[in-house]
Structures are given as structure tokens and as C-alpha cells.
């Protein structure tokens, strides 16, 4: 097992163009499940591919287990990777797929069999060993890919959006399976995804990337509750954080914190008039789309999310409030988080 570190890692695909990955400093902890989260084009996959050795960095260093691996080929880095498509070898049986890394290492036949069977039983795919990849379901393919990845006991696991090819129902169970798998193996894992639900559910820490830069590194609760800037604040959470511009600050609050005034202690909250315009019923929650009524933010659109026990209809105005502690402030120019500020809401 080992930690992965990047120092000022940069990748520029075309000279003169913006970097796909810029100046990334990252350090995993031993056995950590680190999620790289970002929209498409954020550089998360490029970053992962550089760590794997599939892409050569323009500048900066990559360290695995404390030594620089920039000049090493993928096979010398002793990492394992699960691809988005799983990249199973279509002409080989499941057994041979899993045994392939061992064969490449020159492991003896008997020992190969032992290890393949160990990996297969760990993932519950022993009965599939004679099949070809195309005879497997999506979930089974993921397990084969994982078995192939763990069979030679890599120092680091890299996973590139492994759930994105599965349908919604399968995705939840596959996610849970991955979590169990990581708990059992305990190998340092770097996981790339654009899905915030996956990131929040699985990550020990989440690295939020945007346009090749790290916007924030933190535990799921940190990035959700204490976003470092407006990008993180709106990228995480659905619906996203409400942002209102006032002078040189942006004030933000999550939809679930915009609640009926009756539910909060008035001395620790900002009272707001909320005009409900559209109501979505989601079973567990109500999502209320509406606008502020009166005050300096009159007409600004905001969203509220309430437990389904309450009921509202469109085109009505209500007394709502946001607790002081739930307000987040950002600098209007830099869009970075700043300490709370006194603000006139009238």
C-alpha cells in the first residue's frame, strides 16, 4: 500500500492553450478513498491518467509511495485501474482476464490459479470464470474488472467513472458493492466521477475540480457545508445553493435552509417574504420555486426544499426565514468564501 502525491502537476495538450490540469498539489492518505469530482472538461480524468502513467505530464511531479514515478511506465508503477468501459479483453474468458496481470508478471501457473480464485470468490464471480465478457451483465463486468485490478495486489487503485455505464437501479447497488470492497481491501483508492451523489456517498475526501484547477479538498460534509467558493457551492447540492448578490458580497443559503418562519427562533434568523410560483412534489420533499417578495432582493428567484409533511400552492406569499448560521458569504469579485458580514436585507 502507498500514498499518492502530485506536486504542481500540469498538463497542457496544445501549446498556448489553457491547461487541462493546472498546478495540482494533492496528497492522499494511507488507505483513503479519494474522489475527484468535477464536470466534464474539469481535468479529473486527465489527472487520473497521469497518475496511471497513460498521459505524460507537461510539468510537475507524481509520487507513489514516496518516490517520483514520472519516468516510469504504467506497469512499473504497480497500480491498478478500472476503466469507464471496464476494458475487459473481449477474446479472453473471465478467468484469463483476471489472470492476465499475473501472467504478465510471470507468476507461476499454480499460483495464478490460486490468486484468480481468491479474487473471484472475493467478488462472488467464481461461477462466471469460463464465460466471455460479452456474456456478462454490466454489474458482472464491473466485478470482473475489479477482480482483475486486485489480483496482483496493487499499491493504488484508480477508478475512472466505473459506474457511468450502468443503469440507475444497478448503479446504487454497484456503488454499495464498491464501498464494501474498499473497506475489505483497504488500498488507497482514487475515484473519478462527475456524479456528486457518488462522491458524497463514497469519498473519505472529495477533491472538487473545475477547468483544471482544484477548487476545494475536504470531507463530503466540508465541501457541502463549507464550500470554498461559489462554484463548489452551486456544483454540489441539488437544487443548488441560492446565491444573492449584494454590493461587494454574494450571500448564499441552501434550499433546505429556506424554511417557514414559524420553524425558527426569530432572534437568530433573517425573516423573508417568499412568493411560491411552482411546486414540485418529489415524494420525500417538496421543491418550491419562487421569488423574494419585498426588501432589496425583491423579485430574485430562490428555491426552497421542505419535508413533504407541509403543503403549499402556487401563487401564494408566505413568511419564510433563514437562520444566521446557515448563511454563507462570498467575495463578489473573487467568488471566494469570506467571513460572515452584516448585511441589510431591507
Amino acid at each position: 500500500m502507498a500514498v499518492v502525491e502530485t506536486r504542481a502537476l500540469t498538463k497542457v495538450f496544445k501549446r498556448g492553450e489553457l491547461g487541462a490540469v493546472n498546478n495540482i498539489d494533492l496528497l492522499t492518505e494511507e488507505g483513503e478513498f479519494l474522489v475527484l469530482l468535477g464536470p466534464s472538461g474539469s481535468g479529473k480524468t486527465t489527472l487520473l491518467r497521469m497518475i496511471a502513467g497513460l498521459e505524460e505530464p507537461t510539468s510537475g511531479e507524481i509520487l507513489i509511495g514516496g518516490s517520483v514515478v514520472n519516468r516510469l511506465t504504467p506497469r512499473e508503477r504497480r497500480i491498478a485501474m478500472v476503466f469507464q468501459s471496464y476494458a475487459l479483453y473481449p477474446h479472453l474468458s473471465v478467468y484469463k482476464n483476471i489472470a492476465f496481470p499475473l501472467k504478465a508478471q510471470g507468476v507461476q501457473k499454480a499460483q495464478q490459479r490460486e490468486k484468480v480464485e481468491w479474487a473471484a470468490s472475493l467478488l462472488g464471480i467464481k461461477r462466471l470464470l469460463d464465460r466471455k465478457p460479452r456474456q456478462l451483465s454490466g454489474g458482472e463486468r464491473q466485478r470482473v474488472a475489479l477482480a482483475r485490478a486486485i489480483v496482483r495486489e496493487p499499491t493504488v487503485f484508480l477508478l475512472d467513472e466505473p459506474l457511468s455505464n450502468l443503469d440507475a437501479k444497478l448503479r446504487a447497488s454497484a456503488r454499495e458493492e464498491l464501498e464494501h470492497f474498499h473497506k475489505r481491501i483497504g488500498t488507497t483508492t482514487i475515484y473519478v466521477t462527475h456524479d456528486q451523489v457518488e462522491a458524497m456517498a463514497m469519498g473519505d475526501r472529495v477533491v472538487v475540480l473545475h477547468q483544471g484547477y482544484i477548487r476545494q479538498i475536504g470531507t463530503p460534509t466540508q465541501v457541502y457545508d463549507e464550500p470554498a467558493d461559489t462554484f463548489v457551492a452551486t456544483f454540489l447540492g441539488s437544487p443548488p445553493m441560492n446565491l444573492l448578490e449584494a454590493d461587494d458580497v454574494i450571500v448564499g443559503f441552501r434550499p433546505e435552509h429556506l424554511i417557514p418562519a414559524a420553524l425558527v427562533r426569530p432572534e437568530a434568523a433573517i425573516p423573508l417574504r417568499f412568493r411560491v410560483q411552482l411546486v414540485e412534489y418529489l415524494g420525500v420533499d417538496w421543491i418550491l420555486y419562487g421569488s423574494m417578495e419585498g426588501g432589496r432582493f425583491h423579485g430574485k428567484e430562490v428555491i426552497s426544499r421542505l419535508p413533504s409533511a407541509m403543503s403549499y400552492v402556487a401563487d401564494t406569499v408566505h413568511d419564510f426565514a433563514v437562520c444566521d448560521k446557515d448563511l454563507r458569504f462570498f467575495d463578489r469579485k473573487t467568488e471566494k468564501r469570506i467571513p460572515p458580514k452584516a448585511l441589510s436585507w431591507q
Binding site: 496511471a52 476494458a87 479483453y89 473481449p90 477474446h91 492476465f100 504478465a104
Partner: protein, 282 residues
């Protein structure tokens, strides 16, 4: 809507095919009017003719020989061309020339290169002192050399075709498969022999089938280079059919000779159908 096309093709392929069978069991000659059924007389006589047996054997030697060379060469070349590099487009154009240029003209170019007196190959061999002047090999004049020459020219002509077909198969391999192999610790040769080449197999079959058809049924290269000579040693089934049926005027015997192409065609068609069927299922 597809009826006119099918009728046209049936009239010009199906009908002649039936005629070929009828001729082969008759006694049709250029200028003759009547038709007499003679049974398998033509087949009996050509099977006894040493020239025919020789040409049948030659056809197999040419086909197998050139296809082995084509297969090895095109596999290497397609793997080399798959990589992106500067000037790849131009290299591809150069490599394709033998296939896209008319066969007869490419073959005549070779006839000049292999000329008995002014062969550039011989000039080089003499200049390098492998041979004394005027004693250099007669490429198209000696049986073994002539056969090798014809095989090589066939190889030259079909190599580009096979290469681009294999290249199509190679580019269809998803990029992350070789990447996964690299991560799994496979080096260049292991990736090539255990991943890339096995994954190319279906398309290699297609290339072989076309190559076999194009070689076994071709008479142009032989006709231009050697006219089947010296002493019928490079005669193949199609060219013998031409010399017998068209130049010799014995349409029946010519037709009977060319019908020996049919079993091979049927076999190839069957295999091709299997490939198409498997592609449909997958």
C-alpha cells in the same frame, strides 16, 4: 424496387453461370453452331491433361504463397501504420499505389523491372558483384524464378488491400484495451500477441477470404508477366481457361476449366456468410 438490379445481375451472372455449365458438358467451339451433349468428356480430358494439373497446382501455390506473405506483411504494416506520425497520409498513399493502380499497368511495370536484359534488380546484383554481367538471373525465363516473381507481384498488389482492411480492424479496438494491458503490466510484445492480434482475428479472416478470391481467380498478373510460360510452368487455372477457351477457341473445354474455380468460391462464400452472421449476432 430491388427487382431491376436483381434481374440485371441474374441475367449477367446467373445466366452465364448456367451457360458455363452447359458448355462444359457440350462441344461448343468458336464459330460452331450446333450443340451436342458430351457428358463429362471435357472434364475427363482436362483432368488427364498434364497442363491442367500443372495449372491447378500452380493456382494453389500462387494463392497460398502470396497469401502467407500478404498476411505477415500486412499485419506488420498495419500495426506500424496505426500509430500517428508525421507524413502518415503520404505514406498511406504510397503504400496504396499497387492496389489502386490498374492491375495490368502495375504488372507491366514489373515486367520492365524484371526484364531479361535491362532489369534494374540485376543491375544492382551485378554492381554488388553477386553476378557477372550477362549471367544474372532471368526472372521471368526460368520456371522457379518465374513462379517466385509472379507470387511476389501478387503479394505486392494485394498487400495494400489487406493492410487497410486490417487497419480498419485495428482502429476499431477501443483505446482503453491496450491501456488496460499496459496497466496490467503487459509489454509491447505481450500486448501485440495476446491482445491486439487475437482481437484482429475476425477481420484477418475477411482479409484472407478476399485475398484468396482475388488471387485464385486472377489471370492478369500471369498473363502480362509470363503468358503462363516458360512451358506452362506459371500457368494458372484462369489463364489456362483463357488460352483454351478464348485464344484456342474451344469454349467447352475453357468453360470446364474455369468451373474448377467454383468449389473454392462456394467455400469462401460460405465462410463469408458465417462471418457476417456472427457479426449480426454479436
Amino acid at each position: 424496387m430491388f427487382l431491376p438490379a436483381i434481374l440485371y445481375v441474374v441475367a449477367l451472372i446467373g445466366l452465364p453461370l448456367v451457360l458455363a455449365v452447359l458448355y462444359s458438358v457440350g462441344d461448343v467451339k468458336v464459330g460452331s453452331v450446333g450443340y451436342h451433349f458430351v457428358g463429362f468428356e471435357n472434364f475427363r480430358s482436362i483432368l488427364q491433361s498434364p497442363a491442367f494439373r500443372r495449372s491447378l497446382l500452380n493456382s494453389f501455390i500462387f494463392t497460398v504463397g502470396s497469401q502467407v506473405l500478404v498476411l505477415v506483411g500486412s499485419t506488420i504494416l498495419s500495426l506500424a501504420l496505426e500509430k500517428q506520425f508525421r507524413g502518415r497520409g503520404f505514406v498511406r498513399f504510397l503504400i496504396l499505389l499497387p492496389w489502386v493502380a490498374p492491375v495490368s499497368l502495375g504488372a507491366i511495370g514489373w515486367k520492365w523491372i524484371l526484364d531479361s536484359l535491362y532489369s534494374v534488380i540485376n543491375w544492382v546484383l551485378v554492381a554488388l558483384h553477386f553476378y557477372k554481367p550477362y549471367s544474372a538471373p532471368m526472372w521471368l525465363g526460368e520456371p522457379t524464378l518465374a513462379m517466385i516473381s509472379v507470387i511476389l507481384v501478387h503479394t505486392w498488389r494485394l498487400l495494400p488491400f489487406s493492410t487497410v482492411i486490417l487497419l480498419a480492424g485495428l482502429t476499431a479496438i477501443p483505446k482503453d484495451i491496450p491501456e488496460a494491458a499496459a496497466i496490467d503490466g503487459a509489454g509491447f510484445w505481450r500486448t501485440m500477441f495476446q491482445i491486439t492480434i487475437p482481437m484482429m482475428l475476425p477481420i484477418v479472416n475477411v482479409a484472407i477470404l478476399f485475398g484468396v478470391i482475388f488471387t485464385f481467380t486472377d489471370m492478369t498478373v500471369v498473363y502480362i508477366l509470363t503468358r503462363g510460360g516458360p512451358y506452362d510452368t506459371t500457368q494458372v487455372v484462369p489463364s489456362l481457361a483463357f488460352f483454351t477457351g478464348i485464344l484456342g477457341g474451344d469454349l467447352s473445354e475453357g468453360a470446364a476449366i474455369s468451373l474448377f474455380l467454383v468449389p473454392l468460391l462456394v467455400a469462401v462464400a460460405y465462410l463469408m456468410l458465417r462471418i457476417a452472421h456472427r457479426a449480426e449476432v454479436a
